[in-house]
Amino acid sequence: MIDRLATIGRGTFDILASLGRSSEFLVRSLIAVPRPATGLPLLVKQIYAVGVLSLAIIVVSGLFIGMVLGLQGYNILTDYGSEQAIGQMVALTLVRELGPVVTALLFAGRAGSALTAEIGLMKATEQLSSMEMMGVDPLRRVIAPRFWAGFITMPLLAMIFSVVGIWGGMLVGVDWLGVFEGSYWANMQSSVDFGEDVLNGVIKSIVFGFVCTWIAVYQGYDSVPTSEGISSATTKTVVYSSLAVLGLDFILTAVMFGDI
């Protein structure tokens, strides 16, 4: 009994400790902004690695999700004879929910895991140590550019996802199922509000970008420098990021759209 209590206690302290460590880590890498002359090329390189290389999966997934939304929406809406509302349905679903959330989930799997593995491997091969010994702070040189790249990239990817999805919905709804194109757009425009829907979606993806990148770089930085350590850190990145995204999405949705 006391044994079990001790285990629970120790587990709680472990969680608190890692929360504390990761917060300290976050603050230190946020204030460690590199000088623009050296920092900007590093940031560009990371935006390339994190953002541009994730573009293919984002565009393809966005297209398919938009097409599925178009099909399903059409099937449901024809029952009420209001299949012109398909544009509204596709756009609202994407802009408010699926754009930010699915992008964040894909980001965690594609870019987050890569970040963790890369940083973990740099740690395991003592690259971070040797940087420290050269008098260069790895938080400034390695972590900060990756963090900002993820943070900047996520909203861009989410918006691209939504646009591609809306286009995919139109492909199915208008070109295939024969909804009138004018009503596809008109219905959308009359029901989607820029501040309420689009901006809230963007805010969501900014929050997700922050959390996913934080988790990814911290897991890499804190990983045990062995192959098992890195593989478990990568797994943790994907699992924690996905859970965090889904949980935060509920909270954000409740705050943003809850009081109708």
């Binding site: 560009v44 646009v163 820029f194 689009v198």
Partner: protein, 149 residues
């Protein structure tokens, strides 16, 4: 990859993201660039606004001329007082026009339709519609019909 190529690709990526935002703003949410068109306020008192919401459209002959900006209960008359902002370009509503709450489609959104009158003078900022027609409440219609009233 060479630094320069990478910079160009990243630049294109950021531009694509901004383009996406622009598309979402203009094409998807129908935000017009000259959003700051001057407006004037008019009011209408309804017995029942049943489902009309703030930000709902105000239209005349099917053309959107403004938006609903506020709905509140008038404590004296127990009526709903709806505040609307109408574009200055549509400052041609005859004073004897009436405001009607209609539904877009069978289950669509409620909007305010201005039924044009014949008067020579036009409504000004702060005026109230002379005549109104409240929302058609399907449920109430059905229950009235069922109970034979």
């Amino acid at each position: 990859m060479r630094q320069r190529t990478m910079e160009i690709v990243v630049g294109a990526f950021v531009l694509a993201g901004c383009g996406a935002l622009l598309f979402l703003a203009l094409q998807v949410s129908g935000l017009t660039p000259q959003a700051a068109e001057p407006t004037y306020k008019v009011y209408a008192n309804f017995n029942d606004v049943g489902g009309l919401a703030v930000r709902g459209q105000v239209s005349m002959a099917g053309v959107t001329i403004g938006r609903v900006t506020g709905i509140k209960l008038d404590p004296k008359t127990y009526q709903a007082r709806v505040e609307m902002e109408i574009n200055k370009s549509a400052e041609i509503i005859p004073t004897d026009s009436s405001a009607i709450i209609r539904t877009a489609g069978l289950l669509g959104e409620k909007y305010v339709d201005v039924s044009v009158g014949a008067d020579q003078s036009y409504m000004k900022d702060g005026d109230t519609f002379y005549g109104t027609q409240s929302a058609l409440n399907i449920e109430r219609l059905i229950s009235n019909f069922a109970s034979g009233k």
